[in-house]
């Protein structure tokens, strides 16, 4: 490039941060909507103790079963007079932490297995993939239920169970990606200059296969939040009186015949919004990062 060309490049009209954001938003509306929803949820989860209008656990029988909007209870109260909105806000902590922790478990173990199986191959690959096949032979929720039942019905165990169930997806995805880049020039070059296998895998291969993994992790968070809600609904996750969306919907069932619909409306809509946000962001990320995986829908 000639030196004279340089100032021309620098004189490209400056767009300013706001304009750049606006054009990004116009090109990726789903990413923005999903992203904003997730930020709001994170904010609510982090600051629930400060922003929740009432104590989510304290029983106030005088305020029992108030419909939405009465005496400052925006989403109403349950039979024990507990504020539904406050419980939904505190419940966000459980749902999001299950999302993050179980996805991290699945990601760390699954990606490690996939990296080793894909790069080293041989007996490890064969054995690891058969084990993954065995895990895949179970329907998702059946395995999650079996593991949670084995470890004991507790929210911590539900996280572990959902994490384990997620391992095969990451392991298979990673292995496939490793096989695809293993023979590429930059890997061969690294091997030629004597880089150790660990360095090749972590510094050369892994950074080149992260895109589909990010997409999988985002969509996986949506699945994990939904799975936690289902397990808690079945009594295998969070235990009373912990505020948890799935558990609260289960609890509300007994007042359904009395038409106390608001007890489940708050947590039901909260689950929907949280799962929707991660699905939306995940779909947008897939389109942006991984055109090969793009669905025509």
């Amino acid at each position: 490039m000639s030196e004279a060309a340089l100032p021309v490049v620098l004189r490209v009209p400056r767009t300013g941060r706001a304009t750049t954001f606006r054009s990004f938003a116009r090109r990726n509306p789903r990413m923005i909507v999903g992203g904003i929803l997730i930020v709001v949820l994170l904010f609510i989860a982090l600051f629930a103790p400060v922003i929740a209008p009432f104590d989510p656990i304290q029983v106030r029988l005088a305020d029992s079963l108030l419909p939405p909007g009465v005496r400052g209870h925006l989403l109403g109260t349950d039979d024990l007079g507990r504020d539904v909105l406050s419980r939904v806000m505190w419940g966000a902590r459980i749902s999001l932490s299950v999302g993050v922790i179980s996805v991290s478990i699945g990601f760390l173990i699954g990606v490690s297995i996939g990296l080793i199986a894909g790069y080293v191959g041989g007996a490890f690959d064969l054995l690891a993939m058969r084990a993954i096949d065995a895990l895949l032979a179970f329907p998702f929720l059946v395995l999650a239920i079996a593991i949670t039942a084995a470890l004991g019905p507790e929210i911590r165990n539900a996280m572990i169970a959902i994490g384990i169930v997620a391992i095969p997806a990451y392991a298979r995805l990673t292995r496939g990606q490793v096989l695809a880049v293993r023979g590429r020039d930059f890997v061969v070059a690294a091997r030629t200059i004597g880089a150790s296998p660990l360095r090749i895998v972590l510094r050369h291969i892994f950074p080149n296969i992260t895109n589909p993994l990010v997409v999988q992790a985002t969509l996986g968070t949506a699945g994990a939040i939904l799975a936690e809600a289902a397990l808690s609904f079945l009594g295998l996750g969070a235990q009373a009186p912990t505020p948890s969306w799935g558990l609260d919907i289960n609890y509300s069932q007994r007042y359904l015949a009395n038409l106390k619909w608001w007890m489940s409306a708050g947590p039901g809509i909260a689950i929907f919004l949280a799962v929707f946000a991660f699905n939306f962001l995940g779909d947008a990320l897939r389109d942006a990062l991984d055109p090969r995986l793009r669905r025509s829908a």
């Binding site: 096949d133 329907p139 039942a149 019905p153 079945l234 919907i249 069932q253 619909w261």
Partner: protein
């Protein structure tokens, strides 16, 4: 093709064995001692030991596993600790409920997906398409146990006349009308879970097919649009749909767990959910095993069917 199926069946054996080990280890890891649960008020250590021996729980774990496995391959999944009923019999008794629910849901989901998906694909970006894609998007994120409650609330309590009951089951042989009436809400709940996925698949594979040259040829030679859609497009577009629907049929027990719990249906899913807190090992093991095996077998059937439906897939390439 026979060789391909035999090969797949052989490959299934080690995986199935691994599956049984996973199930066995998982269930035995459960905290608490089931013997104490069953002993109830009984505190006498000698009697407790007798019960333990009776349940076969005094043997070392590997011995327990091989005993369970050797019985299982002969179709004996043991007896429920709680009711003493043979597990296979308990499952068989509840199978019709789960199958009826599952098949009704799959049929409902597939028919709606086919009709709406086809209309959507034909009028891309039209009103139906926009509404159905947004509903699809919302549908994959909506917790279906909450949907079940909303349906019960609306149709069993709010709408005058209480069109549908909130739950419960009446055998078809006893009262066909009541059986079907009680099936409607659970079937809709379960169908919605897969509807979103099926609709999306029908629409996108139809759109793929519409872009193919043989469709242009069919139109160019003057075939009526109805013939182009039914004979030429749908037939080819349905191949990937078969895979997805097949997997859904294999996972019927999974879907039934939540739906049966909400609607108090005495099916296999509810059997498992009820057996967990009482640590009824043989029942939980049996249900998990049956659901994993049926999932594995349907996956294999789908692969075979897929290759059969699409002549472009040769078994040689599948094998490689």
């Amino acid at each position: 093709m026979t060789i391909y199926i035999l090969r797949r069946l052989l490959l299934m054996i080690p995986v199935a064995l691994l599956v049984t080990v996973i199930i066995f280890v998982l269930i035995r890891m459960a905290p608490g001692d089931p013997v104490l649960t069953y002993a109830g008020e009984e505190k006498d250590p000698a009697t407790i030991e007798v019960i333990r021996k009776d349940l076969g729980l005094d043997q070392p774990l590997p011995v327990q596993y091989f005993a369970w496995l050797s019985h299982a391959v002969r179709g004996d999944l043991g007896r429920s600790f709680q009711t003493k009923q043979p597990v296979l019999q308990a499952i068989a008794e509840r199978l019709p409920v789960t199958l009826e629910l599952g098949l009704a849901a799959v049929t409902l989901s597939v028919s709606v997906a086919l009709v709406v998906g086809t209309i959507s694909a034909l009028n891309r970006n039209g009103i139906v398409d926009l509404v159905s894609t947004s509903v699809t998007l919302a549908g994959v994120s909506f917790p279906n146990f909450y949907l079940g409650l909303l349906l019960i609330l609306t149709f069993a309590y709010v709408v005058p006349g209480h069109i549908f009951p909130p739950g419960g089951f009446v055998p078809f042989t006893q009262d066909p009308g009541e059986n079907l009436r009680r099936l409607v809400l659970p079937a809709i709940t379960l169908a919605t879970a897969s509807l979103a996925v099926n609709l999306r698949q029908v629409r996108s594979s139809l759109l793929d097919v519409f872009g193919q040259e043989y469709i242009r040829t069919a139109r160019a030679k003057g075939l009526r649009e109805r013939v182009v859609i039914t004979r030429h497009s749908l037939k080819n577009a349905l191949i990937p749909v078969v895979t997805i629907v097949g997997i859904q049929i294999g996972a019927i027990i999974e879907g039934a767990i939540i739906t049966e719990t909400i609607f108090f249906l005495p099916g296999i899913g509810r059997l498992a959910v009820q057996a967990i807190p009482s640590q009824d090992y043989p029942v939980v093991q049996g249900v998990v095993l049956i659901s994993a095996l049926s999932f594995m077998v349907t996956t294999l059937l789908v692969d075979v069917l897929y290759a059969f439906l699409d002549p472009r897939i040769s078994f040689e390439t599948v094998r490689a």
